[in-house]
Amino acid sequence: MSAACAATETNEPDAGLVGALVSETLARLTLFAETGETTTIDLGGLPMSNRHRAALDDFLGRGEVSASIDVIGRTEVWETQFSGVWRVRHFGDGAIATDLIEIAACPKILCADRRDARLAARGMAEALELNPGIVETPHET
């Protein structure tokens, strides 16, 4: 670390933090596998530096699913290489606002809300009414 950047670099190497986080995740994952109990670990309150974050994500890796949500700003969701362990990262004004490890079948933020669905159903019905032709099989031209 050069002297010049030291003043702005917030990380004080703390090898224990990432290890502790991973152990905690493992414990919660085991619990989820056995009982189905879901949990969320909020990384926000922890003294995480970018290096910590990188080390953690390095370890967790990338799995099959990744999604991007566009709601009041961006949100990134991806499954880690460990099935059932998700990373949910909400962005605020350009920076990470909330950073979570979610242990669940599927992160809540990905799922549609039934109340939204009810409204959507109404909207879809209205749309259909406005354009009944859409349901007819289009002719090959």
Binding site: A4, S49, V71, I72, I109
Partner: protein
Amino acid sequence: MKPDDTLAGEMQRRGVSRRAFLKYGSYIASLMALPPSAVEALAEGLAAARRQSVIWLSFQECTGCTESLTRSYSPTLENLIFDFISLDYHETLMAVSGEAAEEARRAAMAANKGKYIVVVDGSVPMKDGGVYATIGGKTNHQILEDTVKDAFAVVAVGTCAAFGGLPKANPNPTGAVAISTLVAGKPMINISGCPPIPEAMTGALAYILSFGKLPELDHLSRPKAFFGETIHDRCYRRPYYERGEFANAFDDAGARQGHCLFKVGCKGPVTYNSCATTKWNGGVSFPIQSGHGCLGCSEPEFWDQGGFYRPLSTPLGAMGPALAGAALAGAALGVGAALSARSHQKHYLASLDKEKEKE
């Protein structure tokens, strides 16, 4: 069918799903260190809430608090709060002025009697009948009393409103006082800081909106979620403090290596705020990270702690004359005591001589 006037309804009309509330709930829960189980409660509470009428009063202040809160200009997570509240009166932000503005305030108060929140920034001058700050011919004190009367809660934003701040600093020419000294019998929150961390303001408001009650407060009525720990306790430079590695000046090797700033006057150990964790400007940095000690701006009387660069463990005020005077007085008393003792002894020796004469 009556339009859905809940916040969820408003958002839906703008084509935003309930995911927004879930995301916002996560954000607030994370900010306030609430348990993950609170996320849904927050989201549901907010979704079901109605737009909150807020009347913002500015007294002896610098508008820095407003700047802090409205800092970002793109509609993002951080300022979503403006979609949840109805800022019915705010001199700096509102378009109207003059009597029309005052009329807006009165209208909002009448429409939301007992339900509106009064946010105050700035302290209130009380000296000389409060003439040092008047709006529309009414003193700050009158306006405050008038507005708060039918409010649901009062939020004092910034150190001036919370504790008196700069206007109250020695010699306090206007007789400035904190809002809490003038507001009795209303739920009251202080969000101190100069300026306060915007997240602390929005977090507190969102909490009230979601749960209909005040968050847990400390003995200075500050939300514990943001003011529960000292800067020092959460400071990334803390390990340097523990190891005894300090910057002795702002330009020495210690300062360059990012050592603890205690010796150059950092007030982190006695300052309760979340700068070290929430940080500023969207989590970019905070004063200590930028190489300057904490000023203690979220604490009462922070201007009058003997100087920002005076280390916390040093005495306030000049010792020299007091100690010199004490040494002189001590010497005088010592000589006096010795003379008195000697006179006791002389007295005895004289009596011995008399005995000898008798013999």
